[in-house]
Every structure is written in C-alpha cells, then in structure tokens.
Symmetry: C2
C-alpha cells in the first residue's frame, strides 16, 4: 500500500519551509511595523458563517466536514436533501475575510477601533487543481476596520512597498476606485449594469478590447455606451493625464468626482519614490469593494511573470452580514504561493545556511561523543545551531551527511584534539581544515 496525498495538497520539505518562512516573516514583520496585530481563527467554521458569502460558485467549492458521532447512521438518515444538515454543519475556511468579519462581530466589545489585524493562515477550496492552484494554500491578510480615513489606504500601499523592497522584487502597484467605476456607469446611463461593466473591464488585460466589448454587448450594454467607454479603456499617460481625462468625463457625476478626489488624496500622501499607477480597468472581480481597489503585479526584468501577487481594497459593510452595520474596512492580501514562484524563478531567496545547522561534530566513538556534547552545549548557548552525528559511522558517510544537508563546517575532535583542548574544523566548501581553539571556533561560526 503506497501512501499518497489528496489531490491539490502538498507537503513542504525543509528547503521549501525556509523559503516560505522568509516570505511569511517578511510580511509579518512589516505588518507589525504598521501597528497591525495578529489573530487566528479556527480551520472549521459553521456552514451558516460560510454559505452564501462567496456566491453560488463559492458555495460549491467549500469543503464540508462530516458531523462526528455515528456517521453511518446519519448517512442512512440523510437519504434525502433535507438530511444534509444532520450530515454536515461545518466547513473549512474558504478565505480569511469572512472569518475575520465573524470575529469582529463576536469580539466587538473587546476590540479597540480602529482595529488593525493581520492573519496568516491556510484556506481550503475544492477547486480543480492545476499548476499553481492548490486546494490548500496560505493567505496573508491585513485589514483596518472602523476608520474611513484614506490614511489607511496609504499605510497599506506603504506596506506593499516595504514588503517587496524587503523581498527585493520589482513590482507595479495599480490603484483604482469603485466610485470612479460607478461614476462611469452612471455617465454612460448604465448604472444598473455597473457589475457587468466592471467584470468585463477587469478582463481587458487578459482577453483584449474586442472580446470585452463583445461581452458588454452580450450583457445588454448599449452601442453608444460602449463607444463612449472606449477612450477610457485606452486611457494612457501619467496619473495626471488620466485624472484630467476622468475629471472631464465624470464632471456630471457626484460619485465619480468623489472617486477622483480619493485617488488624488491617496497619491498626494505618497512620496515620489513610492507612487502607484492609476488603472481604471482594475476591478478585481470581487463586488464588495466600495472605494479604493489595489492590485500589485510583478514588474521585474528578471521575471517573465506579470500576474497579480497582492490585492485589496475598501469595503463599506463587511460585518453587516453578521449583524454589525456601518463598519468600514480596508485590507490587502499577499499571494504567498505566487510570490514564492516568482522568487524561485529569479533566484531571489537569500542563503539560509545560518538558519539551518552551522556545524556538524563528527562522531569518533563514545568517549569523543561524550566530550563533544559539552562543546555542543556551549555553542548552542551562544545561539549557534549545531549537531553531533549520532552514530560512530564511517567518516565518509558522516561527511556525505554534512554535504547533503549543506552544513558549512564539520568539527573533528579525536584523542589529540581532546588532549589539547582544540577542534579541527573542516570548511566543507573550500575543503580546507585547520586546528583551532574553542574560542576561535565560536568566532568562525558566529
């Protein structure tokens, strides 16, 4: 019986774990720099919390957990559609946003608003697995809830800059505003088709203008509106140019003007070297954004990727679904798996040899091992990751182990070294070795 994994799930081996920790730790550190605090929610949520929050398609992609107890009896009793509730009333977390909204409502009396939280946890989706798409993957979210101030958007954009600066990856940050999109739909006389229009516009990058227009037509958007929309879809130039065109187009729309004002305000808070690019084709499929919409794409000579690796925006009433009305929020989410793939592609991961073992003590037998244990404890007390090969195996085997584990140094302590209080240290990369004191050893390894 050969063991296997459920499709769409993965093991992470030590090398991958260290690289992933590099990404998560970077994001976590930056979140904390901006005053965001960590929370965690359980993997299982009640289905009443999850269902109906992700659209019909999302409901189908929820992983449902069987009620515990005498399951077989339940299965028999559940031989009809009405039996479903007896069979399953819990599901696995589908994203971090809905559990966060549930958390805020349940803990509203303990929280200090504005509440800035971050959350780095796996989510599960019964999507068809394919390259780069998994059934279990991590999300890394930060949200501010309970403040309308655009300074929150500014913080989040600065966070994005800090994270990718720290990861040394070139990116392009795109900014839009749902009010601008609403204004456009209003001016076109297609207010009730705002969702159709934004969904179609969102695809411009992927399917091109003709296909987008076709889709708009199919949705019943008028020819006149499609023609008027065209110059906006092809909007080019600096942010200043774009804003000027928008100001003209949206002059008659109060909502549209408010959206422009918000864009201008955010841009004005950002220093020159941390600017973002206005992109009115950005809609991010999700319909719950009400203000800023943010998306980050790879923009690095070393990478062929142009995909989205981070996104977010403002939503005005996320907790309303759980009975807490009028609480505004804004948040972002980093796509750790995609960032991983890009950093792998550009060989952007640092050297982790200080994280894993720095030195392996060879094992020459019981007396030597006993002596080495004392040295090891002193090294470890000095914060150095060190190990003793557990068996008095052939030296070739022990060195092969150090090699496979990429341990940079092997310490050889035999009778002679024990007598002189010294250590023979072999540099595995250079192949050189020298006999030194413990203090010198400490110095080399630090």
């Amino acid at each position: 019986m050969k063991p296997s994994l459920p499709k769409g799930t993965r093991d992470f081996s030590p090398d991958e774990m260290l690289r992933r920790a590099h990404i998560f730790d970077t994001i976590r550190t930056v979140y904390q720099r901006y005053g965001f605090l960590p929370i965690e929610t359980p993997a299982m949520e009640n289905l009443s919390t999850l269902e109906g929050k992700y659209g019909e398609e999302g409901d189908k992609l929820l992983f449902r957990v069987l009620n515990s107890g005498p399951v077989l009896d339940q299965v028999k009793a559940a031989g009809s559609a009405t039996g479903m509730e007896m069979l399953t009333e819990k599901g696995l977390r589908y994203d971090l946003t809905v559990p966060f909204a549930r958390y805020v409502v349940m803990h509203q009396h303990e929280l200090t608003f504005p509440f800035r939280r971050y959350q780095i946890q796996p989510v599960w989706r019964a999507d068809r697995p394919q390259k780069g798409r998994y059934r279990e993957f991590y999300q890394c979210d930060a949200d501010v809830i309970g403040s309308d101030s655009l300074l929150n958007e500014v913080d989040l954009i600065n966070i994005i800059h800090d994270v990718f600066d720290a990861l040394e990856l070139g990116v392009k940050i795109l900014l839009n505003n749902r009010k601008v999109l609403s204004g456009i739909a209003g001016v076109l006389g297609e207010q009730e088709r705002i969702i159709d229009i934004t969904v179609a516009i969102d695809k411009l990058d992927k399917i091109g203008l003709d296909k987008v227009n076709e889709e708009l037509k199919g949705k019943g958007v008028s020819e006149t509106a499609i023609t008027r929309l065209r110059p906006l879809m092809e909007l080019k130039g600096s942010n200043g140019d774009k804003l000027e065109t928008l100001r003209g187009f949206l002059a008659a729309s109060e909502t549209g003007r408010k959206g422009i004002e918000e864009l201008e305000q955010i841009l004005s808070y950002l220093p020159n070297e941390r600017q973002v690019e206005i992109d009115i084709t950005l809609a991010r499929g999700l319909n719950y954004y009400t203000g800023a919409i943010i998306e980050v794409k790879v923009n690095d000579d070393r990478s062929a990727f142009t995909s989205s690796i981070c996104g977010g925006g403002r939503y005005d009433d996320l907790t309303g679904i759980f009975g807490l009305k009028g609480v505004s929020g804004v948040g972002i989410s980093f796509g750790a798996d995609r960032i991983y793939d890009v950093l792998e592609e550009i060989k952007g991961f640092p050297d982790f040899s200080t994280v894993s073992t720095r030195v392996l003590f060879a094992n020459f037998g019981e007396a030597e091992a006993r002596y080495c244990l004392g040295l090891l404890q002193r090294l470890r007390n000095n914060g150095i990751n060190a190990e003793l090969y557990p068996d008095a195996a052939k030296m070739k085997k022990q060195l092969a182990y150090a090699d496979a584990r990429k341990i940079p140094y092997v310490a050889l302590v035999g009778t002679e070294e024990m007598k002189n209080g010294q250590v023979t240290l072999k540099d595995m990369q250079k192949g050189e070795q020298s006999t030194i004191t413990f203090e010198e050893l400490l110095h080399v390894l630090k």
Copy 2:
C-alpha cells in the same frame, strides 16, 4: 443571526497570539539549535493514511471531509454503509506522527538519514470538548528517524531542558524504557499481558495502587504476579537505588537488562544539572514505544499544575505501516495549550510591548498627518513599530486608543513642533511629556 464558532474551536486574539508565539518561537528556536529542520504536511490526509492508526477509538474521533462535487447526489447514493467511500475519502490530520511517517515514506529518496524534522501545526479531534481540551489544537513535534543511537534521546532531553529554561518554568523530566516494562512482564510470567500491565501501571498516579491492582486482576494477571509487582510500583529513592532494585528483579531477563543498560547510558550522557528521574510507572498509554519513554511534568512552586506538558519516546517501526520497514525513530511533542495555561497561571509571560506598537502619532489634521508620515517612515526603517491615528478625532479618543492598545508612547506633532523640527512625546505610563528632537525620539524608542 448571531455568528458562532463550532464547539471545541477557538479564536485567538492579539494578546493570546503574542503569548502563543512566545511558546512556539522558543520551541522552534531550540529545535533549530539541535539541527532539526521544519516540514509541513496538509491538513487533509487520505482516510487510507489515517484509519486504523489510532485504534478503534481514534477512528471515531477523526473528522471526515465530504467529497466535493454534487454532494447531495452522493448522499442519496450513499444510503448504505458501502456508500461511505463515495461520500468521504479524506480526513483532517489527527496528530503529526502518522502524517510524518507518510511523509518519510513518500520522500524517502530525497531525504538524508538520520533525518531530524520538527513540525508545528494544528491537529483536529472530534473529542467531547471540555476545559483545556479542544477539537483543534497545535502540536509541536520533533523526531529523529533512521538512527538507533541513544545520543538522539540525549539530544531530545537536552532540548526539553533548553525549552523550559528559556520559558523559565520548573519541570521534572521522567524517563522509562519499554524494554524494562517488557522484562518485568516476562519475569512475572505475564509476557502476553504486557500491554494490560503497562496500561494499568500508567494509571498509578491518577487512580492509586489499589485500583491498579484491581484492574490487573480484572485483566487476568495472577495474584502472585500482582504481589511480586508491588515493590516495583512503590520504587523510591535515587536513580541509583532504582537501577539497583531493577538489576536484581530483571537479572534473568535479557530484554530487561538491555532496558536498564539504555537507561544507564542516557543518564551517563547528561550533566548533573540536567538529570532526569527514572519512573517505571511511566507507560504513556501509547503502545508503539519500543525503547525510551519520556514525560515532562510541571514542577514549579508557583504552579498548582502537575500535569504532563511534553512527552515522547522511541518507536522502532513507525514507517512500516506504509511499507518502509526497519526504520527506527525517536521523538517528543510539546503540549502548547497546557504550557500556555501554566505560564498564564504563574504570570510567566514576558512583556510584549516591543512587539506591538511602540509609538502612536496623534492626528491633528491633514497638514500635520502629512508631516508625520515622513517621520513614521524613518522610524519604521529603523525597525520601530509605529502608527498614526487615522482620523483627526478628539485627543481624548486618540489617547484612549493608545491606552487600550497598551502603546507606551504618544507623539504629538502640531504647528509648533513642525516649525522647530521637534516632537512632543508623552510617556503613557508616567503621564509625563517632553519636547525632543527626532534623534532623541529614535533613542527613546529603541
């Protein structure tokens, strides 16, 4: 509709998260000191991996995940016991040991043996929830696989010492050996009742000698054997005394003598200040241990707890269930939830004010906020966690926010400070404030 959580599951709020991170980070750092490398496995495993590994009781406590797709149709089709496989073929991880064994077998050709891995992840059990027992909880395991050397046991015991030294919690480390238990059963002529005897002995602490003897009798252990066992159950004194009594009792048992030798060997490798206590009543319910059995109990004047907070042992054929024979392993697991409760009880958590926000900049309006953004960026570039209150709210509200968030300093930057390039810093604990330069601010906050 009031949202709720599935029973036995928990949210972790920021204060709890920081405390939990203190425990996890301590364990992680020590594991790495000893050359253990991290892995992660997916939350869902195939039921074929999980079932039959935890006994009949364990199978009942597995959380099963419904197959995705048209679930209702499956439910109808599954109106008989044979339909179960159509309904569910995945379950949530019940512990970290079986997924690790599965991992080793699947990745055996990429791994370097002896393989030292650690793993810190949640597990799920459909246990009846009660105080201190949850349906989702974290395990923190370390195992060495592919080496028979007792130096591995020594490393694990040193790890336990290091972790509780770092957490500043007094503990008692108990050590036993399955071979000693086997030897005892053999000498008593009850070899085939070794499991019954160890399970009963394991309860000595909880139910007392009389109840244990009753249980042994119930299992069919002879009166003679129970009488002969008595002095061993009441074994007292130093490790030396205990070993001497055991040497006498087990003189005729080869297995027993081997067990004594292993105990002696491990003790001899440990320095005086890091000793363990031999406890032959220790069996840890689990039947798969074949050599050393380790358990850690709280032993601290400040705590009323005496419960087990860490345990482990050697198992000889863990991967055999997945087709890889003859690979010996030894491991330990820290009970993070119990350690949390003990540290909470003794007020053993450090001050986390350096981890969360160090300084809040008050918001006096747009111009001041704009000015403060520059200062904030400089602080953050210096590794200081800092935030700006996002709205120009009343000062009382802003100070109340800092207070509730336990932010130690509030920076007040108005027209005067902007003109002079200074910051008025309010120490929230002392209530004092002084006007200082940015360099002085940096110095105070660092």
